[in-house]
């Protein structure tokens, strides 16, 4: 089944149309999206740096992860709240953009990974005995997030 009809439907939504017709809306929402990205990065890095054996090494991983979690959830919500309207306004461009599909694939994988494997690893306290597990988890998380950020920026160049 092709996703094309869905993308066409998105393109015709009133929200998408309103953003396309406005000079300011797209840039403004995009700026919020970028701030959301930075916030997400902060909440992710706090834990991933620690898992890599740098950053706040004197704090237990589980505690840092608990401190970061509300900010992670909040910033990811901001990303979706700003990203979906942006997508609606240019869904047809996205459909034919390689970068968009890289971004969506990375995003799907990183969210899945974060709320399953990474969450278990950070809550378990296993990483003090098995630092390699922590490092591996952090590298996958950071690599996928970099893919999301790269894809997001590159959509604008296609």
């Amino acid at each position: 089944m092709s996703l094309l009809p869905f993308f066409q439907w998105c393109y015709q939504t009133p929200v998408g149309e309103a953003i396309r017709e406005s000079t300011w809306l797209f840039p403004l929402i995009e700026a919020f999206h970028l701030v959301g990205l930075g916030l997400t990065a902060g909440a992710v890095l706090l834990v991933d740096l620690r898992l890599l054996g740098v950053g706040l090494t004197r704090q237990p991983v589980a505690q840092l992860s608990a401190a970061a979690e509300p900010w992670l959830l909040g910033s990811v919500t901001l990303m979706f709240a700003s990203g979906i309207p942006l997508f609606l306004s240019e869904s047809m461009k996205c459909y034919y953009s390689f970068a968009f599909w890289v971004k969506m694939t990375s995003l799907f994988l990183v969210l899945l990974f974060t709320f399953t494997v990474r969450r278990r690893v950070t809550r378990s306290g296993l990483t003090s005995d098995r630092p390699l597990l922590g490092r591996f988890t952090a590298l996958i998380s950071l690599g996928l997030w970099c893919g999301v950020a790269w894809g997001g920026r590159w959509i604008g160049f296609s």
Binding site: T23, P27, E30, A31, L34, V35, L37, G38, L39, T40, A41, G42, A43, V44, L45, L46, L49, V54, G55, L56, T57, R58, Q59, Q63, L64, A67, A68, W71, W145, C146, A149, W150, G152, R153, W154, F157
Partner: protein, 188 residues
């Protein structure tokens, strides 16, 4: 040589033209700029939130600073390098961009805030056992930092848009004044 003449000259140098017209180099530098924004702004935000007492209250402020600051600095250095290259690719237009000028002004203010924080405020909150919500001055420094960096991201993003460019006249006289734009003259 006036700044305008200098940036006109810079815009014509082969390296600037090559970078501007490159298919991959420019977007790649732009991507590096966004990645390091994540590193820089991400670590700044977590420290500012700690200053505000909104996260990690049981962790001393000094510990958060000591352990995150090297990453913030590393991010900042790469941001400045990649940002300079992006400016170098489009020097004249950036020089006359109201958003670029606004961004530099906000960065100056953010630098002032950093200096005030480290010289006046931080010595009072740096005691190793300083946990909980920091004193008012530190919270203000954190809030000001957050507001300024969000403003910098906004103005940085807007540089890409040409609504107020010098070659799009007529514009408000005040805008042309603020962007050193003389309609009908060089620099368009």
């Amino acid at each position: 040589m006036s700044p305008l003449a200098f940036f006109e000259w810079l815009a014509e140098t082969p390296w600037s033209v090559d970078l501007h017209e490159s298919q991959y180099a420019y977007p790649l530098i732009e991507s590096v700029h966004v990645w390091t924004l994540c590193l820089f702004f991400g670590t700044v935000v977590m420290f500012d939130l700690r200053l505000l007492g909104w996260t990690m209250r049981k962790v001393p402020v000094s510990e958060v600073l000591d352990r995150l600051l090297p990453w913030t600095i590393a991010g900042f250095v790469i941001m400045v390098i990649s940002g300079t290259l992006l400016f170098f690719a489009i020097p004249l237009r950036s020089y006359q961009s109201i958003f670029f000028r606004g961004k530099l002004l906000l960065m100056l203010l953010a630098g002032l805030n950093v200096w005030l924080f480290h010289s006046r405020v931080y010595p009072k909150v740096a005691a190793p056992d300083q946990v909980g919500v920091p004193p008012r001055a530190a919270r203000v420094a954190g809030a000001v930092s957050l507001a300024l960096w969000i403003g910098i991201i906004f103005s940085g993003r807007m540089i890409a848009y040409n609504w107020f460019d010098c070659d799009r006249q007529p514009q408000q006289a005040i805008l042309n004044f603020l962007t050193s734009c003389v309609p009908g003259e060089a620099g368009q």
